[in-house]
């Protein structure tokens, strides 16, 4: 599981310092570092549509640039801060429209044979569908913890919840997920 090293944290601090002083290149580097995880978070939170996820990702990073001057590193790291912006944009999205989630166009390794490909696609989509059925807060914890690999401490900063609460939520989410997959005939 991905863990944020001390060096990683220092790198963020340096980039944030430079970006706060108007260095767009430093901001670009921060963007490159977090774009995948921010995009994924949004992708699973909205309708699993690439275009929508891209639009919201763009808005998040533009908003973050606009608000950079007011970003307070003492209150929490850049990661927590950008996820907070991300959550707010997703909430805005929920308020504006309710969309049906669509199945993902999967990216599969071309070297696999067709049967494996189909099986893997099916498994992938089963898990996706199951995650989609979770309540929002559980889906969020699953996404941040098990897909993005954030620690409970990091999630506590992002979600504004105590670590114990997050631990309890993640177990509830996993249990729920297991039940959904069993119900869908995936697990025995």
């Amino acid at each position: 599981m991905y863990k944020k090293s001390a060096l990683n944290s220092i790198t963020d601090k340096i980039l944030v310092y430079r970006a706060k002083r108007g260095d767009k290149e430093a901001y670009g580097k921060l963007y490159l570092k977090y774009i995948d995880s921010i995009y994924r978070y949004i992708f699973f939170r909205v309708n699993q549509n690439h275009e929508e996820a891209e639009d919201i990702t763009e808005i998040v990073f533009f908003k973050a640039w606009e608000k950079f001057a007011t970003f307070d590193e003492q209150a929490g790291g850049f990661q927590a801060w950008i996820y907070a912006i991300c959550r707010n944009r997703v909430i805005d999205y929920y308020k504006k429209e309710k969309k049906q989630t669509k199945l993902l166009e999967t990216h599969i390794d071309e070297r696999e044979n067709i049967e494996e490909k189909v099986l893997r696609e099916e498994e992938f989509e089963n898990v996706l569908a199951a995650v989609r059925k979770l309540p929002r807060d559980q889906g969020e914890v699953i996404s941040l913890k098990f897909i993005e690999g954030l620690s409970n401490k990091e999630m506590s900063r992002i979600l504004g919840k105590k670590e114990n609460a997050i631990r309890a939520l993640q177990f509830r989410a996993l249990k729920n997920l297991q039940m959904i997959l069993k119900h869908d005939g995936r697990h025995k």
Binding site: R21, D36, F43, F62, T70, L104, H107, F124, L174
Partner: protein, 235 residues
């Protein structure tokens, strides 16, 4: 405390969802277009720049009384009582402006004033002063050009504006040449030269396929052109 190991299989399947990623075209577009398009910010803390701005405004207010004077000065011409106020306000605006395009236009304003000063004093025999005004004009054009070169994604549009301005000023200066005394003509030639060099630099900045007053080539943008960036931002 629950044991997470019983969910190992699910957790492993969840981690496969990490394969979801932004499309390469989106990533490339964002990196190559949208990051450079972010509005520039002045280095230095927010509080410091606010304090500087406030100090300049307060000084202008205290020294020149009401803001009405400052506003009236904006319309003043060379030789008028409020013209020095206008110059001070221009310098104050330049001190606080951070956007290179804005700064370029402010330098153009100063340059235009210099041309007006030269028009007012063209028939004077004070050659040294006239030469100084031409020199100041040249400096302002130089600074405007520098700012255009820094203005990133707004560069082409600003360059077009600067180019048009320089064309007009060149015409004005050439007309002035016909009326000015002989001793003032070398200064005017320098000023015209500076205008023309500035125009050349602005044309270098503009792609050949964007129509300009001096280049009537067809316009067009590739996938990563300005128009696409604006369109995407406005979606």
């Amino acid at each position: 405390m629950e044991d997470i190991s019983k969910y190992r299989e699910i957790i492993s399947e969840l981690s496969s969802l990490r394969a979801v990623a932004p499309r390469p075209a989106f990533r490339a577009r964002f990196e190559n277009l949208l990051i450079p398009a972010l509005p520039s910010k002045k280095a230095g803390g927010f509080f410091f720049s606010f304090a500087v701005r406030l100090a300049i405004l307060l000084i202008a207010f205290i020294v020149f009384g009401t803001t009405g004077i400052v506003l009236a000065a904006g319309q003043s011409k060379p030789g008028s009582f409020l013209y020095p106020v206008r110059q001070l306000v221009q310098n104050a605006k330049l001190a606080v402006a951070t956007n290179p395009s804005t700064r370029a236009l402010l330098h153009l304003e100063k340059a235009r004033d210099k041309v007006e000063e030269m028009q007012t004093s063209a028939s004077d025999r004070k050659t040294e002063q006239f030469e100084q005004k031409a020199e100041d004009y040249k400096k302002d054009i130089g600074k405007a050009v520098e700012e255009v070169q820094k203005s990133g994604i707004q560069q082409e549009k600003t360059a077009e504006t600067v180019n048009e301005f320089l064309e007009n000023q060149t015409r004005t200066l050439e007309e002035l040449m016909t009326a000015a005394p002989t001793q003032n003509q070398p200064a005017l030639e320098k000023a015209i030269d500076a205008s023309q060099q500035g125009q050349e630099k602005m044309l270098e900045v503009q792609p050949e396929n964007i129509p300009t007053p001096s280049n009537q080539s067809q316009s067009g943008n590739n996938e990563f052109g300005q128009e696409k960036a604006n369109e995407h931002r406005n979606r």
